[in-house]
Subunit: 420 residues, 2 copies
């Protein structure tokens, strides 16, 4: 087995799997002081790190995004402070001040500078952060920092909003006689399209790497994972992916020309892709997970347009929900995708069975197609037969429970406006 | 009152209001021979017409669209043949042959050439048209042609699919001592976004006009009406607007430099806009009708992007359904619209009451905003405060019944494949 084919192995510990990282979470009652749940977490490295990040492209950026986007470029970032229950979005200059104050308080307890602490928030939009309930818990949050699976479990739960389960994974990669670990936690929910809800992902690794190279690897991995469950850069006000690397594994620093570079990137891709898939599977009231493979496109852009048009068609999603192999709705979305397509050359497959060939109904018995579409997870393949470009997205159905949930669940922003 | 301010008056008769037009509809059992309903209609002028049309931009065009798109340019178009129950889409060369055969049979009965007959279809995708059930009814369809409100009612019902009510309107405009009438019928349903379901609209008028000028007026009116309930050219495989003008009113031919041009265009706009609004109000399981006004954009494109992003946000639509004045979700969609926007300059109004000012919660009591959002129809205004450009779209909520309906109702295309 060549070094380039070294496979990562899943290990325990999630966000604290990598050496030198600890985490803890506490209950502040951020959303509702009468319903306490883990809603504030801190992830911390015991030595200097380099940090990388990708942030929402939404023009309405939440205060913590504005702050962390700047600070991620700093040298010696040490910690990520994250809360659920309040997004600190649409809160203006006051919100920015609150985000800074959160990091100042954490930094003081950690004996760090505020500029070494990144901050993320997810939850209700348009309400001031309840600083009076949050800040007093930071000393115990810092005091409880620890590594191990329990700390990972707490951290991953503290960032959940309408997620039904915590999401984390860690892998290890042998590297020149030593072992590098990469671990992460994420939260998603909303529908699988991040324009619908905040997506947060935090990753820690003990590899040694430069900030520029870590940013490069992070950007590429996000493109292959979280951007495969989104459309056209539509992102929420708070979406953030952060990666911290502290070199604690003792390996020699890696660069794109190192023999271990590809193995590291594959490991990082794997962690992000698994977390991205967990987000789709745990989408609000989702009952089906569908991988959409587009093949034979004339250009990569065309392949992506087709995949995203199909993945985001409400009628296609309704078909998924009903377990119907409705290739007509698929072709319909292919047709309005904006990509170069030719009806009489387009084939559609459900789980490898041809449903439409050359734009016309294929002879596969409908019962066989229904068996595929009735599965909880299946692959829909669209073969355009026009070129060699491909693209894959991961999507879900939409259920009436989704509509119910989003009609009733959320508070109107500012319905309890606070003037501090 | 100047001629340019002549107001059209609503009159009876719909598609047969204009002189020289007759209509009729019959039951063929196109979708299901055991459930007879009006599903084939013919609209016919007793003298030569000029025809104009706009057609779906979907690359998967249904057979009748391919045919009518060509024929609408012909001189002396006389009739429109339209059916519901089968879209004749994704049916390849056989489907094109079927569409032609439909017009040939109608032309023979009408003593016309097939090239003088346009054809439109709406309904299930991917199934061959049941010609054996359809063609035998064409002689009685032609024999029954008549004008008056009953004929209009029948024609408007025969093109319904999941529409819950027929849609028609006619107006008259005084013009130099004579009277010009413009009448139309439409079908929509699906959600308000025509990428979700076929939209058909047929309009007849007894004005005298050249084909080029009628096409110009038609294109402009579609832009102000049906394109205001759609996004980014996303259209179904069958969407079609057809306008026939036969000059039977006896007015002198109008041109863009005529004194009566504006009055005619306003009348045509009014007919199309009213039909477009009827389509939104009758969207599948729709409970609310919302006009979204975007103001103060730096460019017309920006205004449109913002309006369409907000109108098409699933979470915003869920808020509408719940009667929640959720300005946070509105700002969120404004932020990812791709338009130039500045959070701290953006205001959001529900029915004229300010919900957010400068990107922050406004002091309007939430109860007042809820009263607006609880209405069946209201206006949502987004003021960007960056320029002078404006755009308006008409949209609806989404209900869980919509999802239910689209999960269960439709047959999988080709599930009863026919090989003729």
């Amino acid at each position: 087995m060549s070094k380039n084919q070294v496979k990562s192995k899943v290990v325990a510990g999630g966000i604290t799997a990598a050496q030198g990282f600890r985490a803890h979470a506490v209950q502040c009652g951020i959303k509702d002081p009468k319903k306490l749940r883990l809603d504030l977490t801190l992830i911390c490295s015991d030595r200097p790190t380099v940090a990388a990040g990708t942030f929402t492209t939404n023009k309405m950026k939440a205060a913590p995004v504005l702050l962390s986007e700047k600070r991620v470029r700093n040298v010696d970032v040490r910690a990520i402070l994250a809360n659920s229950g309040n997004a600190n979005a649409c809160t203006g200059v006051d919100g920015l001040q609150d985000a800074k104050a959160m990091t100042e308080t954490a930094a003081a307890e950690l004996k760090l500078r505020a500029s070494q602490v990144l901050v993320c928030s997810t939850g209700i939009i348009g309400l001031r952060m309840p600083m009076d309930r949050l800040l007093p818990h930071i000393p115990s949050l810092v005091a409880g920092l620890v590594d191990g699976p329990d700390a990972n479990d707490q951290a991953s739960r503290a960032i959940m909003t309408s997620d039904t389960k915590p999401k984390s994974i860690a892998v290890e990669i042998p590297m020149g006689g030593k072992v590098v670990k990469i671990g992460g936690i994420a939260k998603g929910a909303g529908m699988i399209n991040p324009n619908m809800a905040t997506m947060l992902c935090f990753i820690t690794t003990d590899v040694a790497i430069s900030r520029a190279d870590l940013q490069k690897a992070t950007k590429a991995a996000v493109e292959q994972s979280f951007n495969r469950i989104t459309i056209d850069g539509d992102m929420s006000t708070n979406d953030t992916v952060l990666v911290l690397a502290n070199g604690a594994s003792g390996v020699k620093p890696i660069t794109p020309s190192s023999s271990h570079w590809k193995a590291f990137c594959r490991g990082l891709n794997r962690v992000m892709l698994e977390l991205a898939k967990m987000i789709v599977r745990d989408g609000e009231r989702v009952t089906r997970f569908v991988q959409i493979d587009v093949r034979g496109a004339r250009s990569a852009t065309d392949a992506r347009k087709v995949a995203e048009a199909v993945a985001n068609s409400l009628l296609v999603k309704c078909s998924f929900h009903g377990g119907d192999p409705n290739w007509g709705r698929v072709l319909h979305a292919v047709g309005y995708s904006g990509a170069h397509v030719v009806e009489s050359q387009t084939d559609v497959y459900f789980g490898g069975l041809v449903a439409a060939r050359s734009g016309l109904v294929a002879p596969t018995p409908i019962e066989k197609l229904r068996e595929v579409a009735a599965q909880k997870e299946f692959t829909l393949t669209i073969e355009l037969n026009l070129g060699k470009q491909e693209y894959t997205v991961y999507t879900s159905d939409i259920s009436k429970e989704y509509v119910d949930f989003n009609t009733d669940e959320y508070a109107v922003p500012g319905s309890v406006p606070k003037k501090s």
